[in-house]
């Protein structure tokens, strides 16, 4: 019986990947809230260079993540999926994002956490704004696609590929540098 049921639904895609996404999101949201990153005051405090909570969370996530991801890549367990970029995309888009980051006081991930934390400026104002902004980008996309977004295009390259060296020749010094930055921040009393 069971087998027959399964063959009756051959086209139906598995829901399992979506459930994993939900589970990982719940853990991510839990950690963001416990870390304080769902709060406007913490994020704006970071951008005003008064409260370094956001940088501490990000750098310790990057250090931990980088070691594990490159370890699993070396073992052949996973493939990287770096995003493509260009000077036009990363610099111009980065600066526009930065303006929004400071004015809104949340980013697209932490705003979801802020909504869960009960912050209504995030739910009513911020989420609506992000959706409008994404819509506006979809509207202008055909006009900028082959122009400014292609200026200085470098694609999905990673630093080890750019420098043409073994991954670990970059991973180890970058991890050391990021740990050094965190130690200096703590030593400076932040």
């Amino acid at each position: 019986m069971k087998e027959q049921k399964q063959t009756n639904l051959p086209q139906k895609p598995s829901r399992l990947p979506l459930l994993w996404g939900l589970l990982f999101g719940i853990i991510f949201g839990f950690l963001l809230q416990k870390g304080g990153a769902t709060k406007f005051d913490v994020i704006v405090g970071q951008l005003l260079l008064k409260d370094f909570t956001v940088l501490k969370i990000m750098l310790s996530a990057v250090i931990t993540g980088m070691i594990g991801i490159y370890f699993m890549k070396t073992l052949g367990w996973i493939k990287l999926s770096p995003k493509p970029g260009s000077a036009g995309m990363s610099i111009v888009g980065g600066l526009i994002f930065g303006v929004g980051f400071a004015v809104l006081g949340y980013c697209p991930g932490t705003i979801a956490g802020a909504v869960g934390n009960g912050y209504l400026d995030a739910l009513i104002g911020g989420v609506a704004g992000i959706l409008i902004g994404a819509h506006l980008f979809a509207v202008i996309y055909p006009k900028v696609k082959d122009k400014i977004l292609k200026k200085g295009y470098f694609g999905t390259i990673t630093l080890p590929q750019l420098l043409k060296v073994n991954d670990w020749v970059v991973v180890i010094p970058v991890v050391a540098l990021l740990i050094f930055i965190l130690i200096r921040l703590e030593a400076a009393g932040f």
Binding site: L18, G21, F24, I26, I27, F30, L31, Q33, K34, G36, F40, D41, L47, K56, I57, A61, V62, T64, G65, I69, W77, I78, L80, P82, K83, P84, G85, M89, V92, G93, G94, L95, I96, F97, V99, V103, L104, C107, P108, G109, T110, I111, A112, G113, G116, L120, D121, G125, A128, G129, I130, L131, G133, L136, F137, A138, P142, L149, I157, V174
Partner: protein, 172 residues
């Protein structure tokens, strides 16, 4: 289980937890953590409610399909996870205007909402322009040592720090 009801954890514990979570998303879901594409897909889904299937013909929505995917569920999960964490520690509060905002610009919700919409527009537009956000570029991309993500993340903070200083130290 006291740690579950604590209001704040060390940022290093939260960060290391997110780092380990990124191992699992790569290993199990074969995807890096990211958030902003989910907003673009939602925007497409909302537009489709009003304009129908022809929205899917738009060049952008051919590349970023307006549908619920893994990342969309991740963002939904963030809302739930943050809610559970905040409830467990008694840190859940309905709040219209953040403290630091009201100290400088007053506690009028309407002003805050209007500015939040404007900030959100820049954030939504900029994240799609650069192809990611503080999670997708700032954490997942930089930990993969992607050149695009290091440049984007640095410019997120250059733009953010400059704007915050202008807003809170010059205007405010």
């Amino acid at each position: 289980m006291n740690w579950l009801t604590e209001t704040r954890w060390s940022p290093y514990i939260a960060g290391i937890g997110i780092g380990v979570l990124s191992w699992l998303t790569f290993l199990i879901s074969k995807k890096p953590i990211g958030c902003s594409t989910a907003f673009a897909r939602t925007s497409g889904m909302i537009e489709r409610l009003f304009r129908g299937k022809k929205v899917e013909q738009k060049i952008y929505y051919q590349e970023v399909k307006p549908e619920v995917d893994w990342e969309w569920m991740l963002v939904l999960g963030i809302v739930i996870g943050s809610f559970v964490s905040a409830k467990l520690s008694g840190d859940f509060h309905w709040l219209w205007v953040p403290t630091q905002w009201s100290q400088i610009f007053g506690s009028e919700p309407v002003t805050r909402i209007i500015v939040a919409v404007f900030g959100g527009i820049c954030l939504g537009f900029g994240s799609r322009w650069s192809g990611g956000c503080t999670s997708g570029h700032g954490i997942s991309g930089t930990l993969q040592l992607a050149v695009s993500s290091w440049i984007s993340a640095i410019f997120f903070f250059i733009g953010g720090i400059a704007t915050a200083f202008l807003l809170y130290n010059v205007i405010g």
